[in-house]
Symmetry: C2
Subunit: 406 residues, 2 copies
C-alpha cells in the first residue's frame, strides 16, 4: 500500500455522501435488499458495465444516465436481477429511479439504478416503492454498513473498503462497497454493453471532471474487476459506478502528481474489493493469484492467466489441496496463448513446481503443505518475452454446486 | 439410424482385426490398463488429435506414424498420460511402439501409441514391457471387451459400438471403442496438433484410401467428438485413430453411393461413442443436447451452443433439476455470438420455456418435471438467420468435484 494513502477501519463514506439500506421484502429471509447512496452535491460520475449482449434493464438505464457524466444518487436492489424482463422491466427500472428522485427531491435524470439476483423475473414494485420511501427518510452519513449488507446475494459477508489520503494539504476519502459471489467473470468496459452479477459502488469527495473519472476508472478496472473469476460465467448485471462530489474542496486535474495519487488510491480500493469478491466466491476456500510472466504479448499473458484461472479441473485439485499441476500445463496448452512447453517454469509461493515444462522433484508433501494455505500465489514464467498479466481466482468445492443447484 | 446399417450387440471387431487388454500394474486397483489392437492386413489409417499446444509424447509419435496413412497396430495404456515428460517421455512412447511391433512381428513404423491418465509422470516401462509381451500372446478376435476395459480411467463402464452393413452385396463392419470421462472438451483436427484425455479407436474391414479415410473422419468429428463437453478442459492426449483393412473385399471410392454409406456409418458410430462419453461424464446424471437454430452464421450457432454447454451455473441448475433458465440467456449473452435478446425462443423437450427473450408462463412444476428426465433436449432459436449447430453436454454434480479433488 502506498504510504500516501491510509486505510480507515471501520470504513466511512467521503464528505457529503449519505446512504441507507433496508429490508423491503424482496428476499424471503428478511435480510436487507434495498440500498440508496446519495451525494449532497451533484457529482461527476462514471460507470462500467458488462460486455454481454444480454443486459438487465437497470444496466441499460444507468448507462444512459451516466453518459451525461453527472449523478447524485444510486438506488440498488438485491434478490431480483430485473434481467430478461422486456419493456415492463425497463419501465420498472425507470420507476425505481423516479421514486428515488422524488423521495429525496432531486431530478430522476441524476439517479442510477442497479439490480442483482435471479434472472427472468419482474421486480415486486410495491415493496420497492415502500422501501424507497423508508430509505429516503433514514438516509444518513453512517448508513454505509446497511447499504453494504443490502446489495449482498450469496456473499457470506459485506464487502466495504474506506481510505483516507492527503492531497494538497487537505484530507480526502475514497470509499467503496461490492458484492459477488457467483456468476463472476466480469468483462467490463466503461463504454461497453452491460451484463453480470458483480456490483460495485465507489465514492470520493475529491473534485474531478467526468472525463478524468472515466479514464481513471477504465485503468483501475483492468487491474481489479476485469481480472477476477469465480466460475467463468459473465453476468447480465455487472456494474461499477463511481461518484466524485468535490466536497473535500480539492480539485484534481489531468497529468498532475495529484492525478497520479488519485489513480493509486482508486487502483488500491478497486483491487481490494476485487480480492474480497474472489475470496468470498461461492463455496470458495482459497484466493489464488495467477501471474503469467515473460509472455510474447500482453494479450497472451492475459489469455494464459484466464485459462488457468477458469480451469475447472485445476480449481477442483486446489480445493482438494492435491498437487495435480499437469492440469495447469493442460490449461496453458489449450489457452490459445503462444507457449513452448519446454520453456515453462511455474512456482507456488516460492517453491518451483514445474521447470522446463516438467514437474520438479520437490516432494509432493512439501507442495501439498503449501497448498493448505488460504492464499496461493502461482507464478507462471513462459520464457518467451517481456509481457506480464494476472488473474485472481478461487477453488471450486462441492458446496459451489450445492449453492447453485437451485 | 439409417436402415442400411444395423447395430451388432454385443459388438464385434471387423474381419481381420484382433485385440487384447490386460492389467499390467499401472493402475493401483488392478484393473485392465494396457490394450493392443491389431490388423492382420496392413490398413489405411487416419488420426485426429487435439489442437492444444501442450501435447503428450504418444500424440506426437502417432501423428508422425499416421502421416504415412498406413498402420497395423495400436498400443494403448491408461493410468499415466505420458504428457509433460520431455525427451524421456518421447523415448518411452517410441519404446512402447517398438515393443509392440517386436512382439507381434511387424515394423514399428506401423504401430500407433496412445496414453491417458495423470499428466506429468513417466510410464512404468518395465510393467509395460511385460504387459505388451502378454498382450501379444493373448491377442484374438474376441479380445475387444478386454481392450475396451483397458482404456478406461474414471469411466464407469466400457464404451463400445459395433455395426454391420451391406455394401455391394457383401457384409462389412464398423467397430469402435472410446473412453472419457473428465478433461473432456475435444477440439481436434485431423491435421492438428494433439492434446486431450478422450481416446477413440475405430476399425472397419472396408477398403479405402488413406485420403478418403482422412476426409471422412474429419467430417465425422464435427458432428461427434468436436461437439461434446464435460468440463470445458481440453486434454493433452485427445486422440482418434481409425484403421480400414479391406478384409471384407469391398473397396470404397470417392464420390460414390458407397462412399456416402461409409460416411453414414462412420457418422453414426462416432456420434454414438461421443454420446456415451458425455452420458458417462464424471459425476454426470444427465445427457443434454443443446441445439442452436436460426443463427446468422454457422460459427455463431456453434459459439452460442458451446457457451451454453460449458456454463457451470446452468449445469449446476440442471443437476438440481431447477428451471433457472436465466442462466441460459446469460450464457448466450456472453458467448460472443450475434444475438437479439427479444428474438430468442427456447424449448425444453417440446415445452416452450423462453419466448421473445422472456420466461414463459408455463408452470415451474411442469418444467421441473421435464428436467427429471435423464436426457434433455434444449432447442434455442435465435431468430436471426438459417444456420444451425449443436453441442452435447452433461450436468455438473458435487461428485464431479469429489472425483477431481485428487
Amino acid at each position: 500500500m502506498n504510504e500516501m494513502i491510509r486505510r480507515i477501519d471501520p470504513p466511512e463514506m467521503p464528505v457529503g455522501f449519505r446512504s441507507a439500506g433496508v429490508a423491503c421484502g424482496i428476499k424471503a429471509n428478511g435480510e436487507n435488499d434495498l440500498a440508496l447512496m446519495y451525494s449532497e452535491l451533484e457529482a461527476s460520475a462514471a460507470g462500467a458495465f458488462t460486455t454481454s449482449k444480454v443486459t438487465a434493464a437497470p444496466v441499460r438505464l444507468s448507462k444512459k444516465i451516466l453518459a451525461g457524466g453527472r449523478c447524485r444518487a444510486i438506488i440498488v436492489n438485491s434478490g431480483c436481477a430485473n434481467a430478461c424482463t422486456g419493456s415492463e422491466g425497463e419501465a420498472d427500472a425507470v420507476e425505481m429511479a423516479r421514486l428515488a428522485a422524488e423521495s429525496i427531491g432531486i431530478e430522476s435524470g441524476l439517479v442510477s439504478v442497479s439490480s442483482t439476483g435471479r434472472i427472468g423475473y419482474r421486480l415486486p414494485m410495491e415493496k420497492i416503492e415502500k422501501g424507497i420511501r423508508f430509505l429516503a427518510e433514514s438516509i444518513r452519513a453512517g448508513g454505509n454498513k446497511n447499504a453494504a449488507r443490502a446489495i449482498m446475494t450469496t456473499d457470506t459477508h459485506p464487502k466495504e473498503v474506506g481510505i483516507e489520503l492527503e492531497v494538497m494539504g487537505k484530507k480526502a476519502r475514497f470509499w467503496g462497497i461490492a458484492k459477488g459471489a457467483g456468476m463472476i467473470y466480469p468483462q467490463m468496459r466503461v463504454d461497453g454493453v452491460p451484463h453480470a452479477t458483480m456490483l460495485v459502488f465507489l465514492a470520493t469527495d475529491l473534485e474531478v471532471k467526468p472525463d478524468f473519472l472515466k479514464s481513471a476508472l477504465d485503468l483501475a478496472l483492468d487491474q481489479s474487476f476485469n481480472r477476477i473469476t469465480v466460475d467463468g460465467d459473465t453476468s447480465t448485471n455487472d456494474t461499477v459506478i463511481m461518484l466524485a462530489n468535490g466536497a473535500s474542496g480539492v480539485r484534481i486535474n489531468f497529468a498532475t502528481p495529484e492525478a497520479e495519487l488519485f489513480q493509486v488510491a482508486l487502483d488500491y480500493i478497486t483491487r481490494e474489493l476485487a480480492l474480497m469478491i474472489v475470496a468470498d466466491g461461492e463455496g470458495a476456500n482459497k484466493l489464488i493469484k495467477i501471474e503469467v510472466r515473460s509472455a510474447s504479448t500482453r494479450n497472451d499473458a492475459k489469455t494464459a492467466a484466464a485459462a488457468v484461472a477458469n480451469s475447472l479441473l485445476l480449481k477442483c485439485a486446489i480445493y482438494g489441496e492435491t498437487p495435480n499441476w499437469g492440469r495447469l500445463l493442460a490449461a496453458l496448452g489449450y489457452s490459445g496463448a503462444e507457449i513452448e512447453e519446454s520453456k515453462i517454469n511455474v512456482s507456488l509461493d516460492g517453491v518451483e513446481i514445474i521447470r522446463n515444462g516438467l514437474l520438479t522433484e520437490i516432494p509432493k508433501r512439501i507442495i501439498a503443505d503449501k497448498m493448505k494455505e488460504s492464499r496461493l500465489n502461482i507464478i507462471i514464467d513462459l520464457g518467451l518475452g517481456d509481457e506480464d498479466d494476472l488473474y485472481y481466482t478461487c477453488d471450486i468445492s462441492p458446496e459451489y454446486v450445492d449453492i447453485n443447484k437451485c
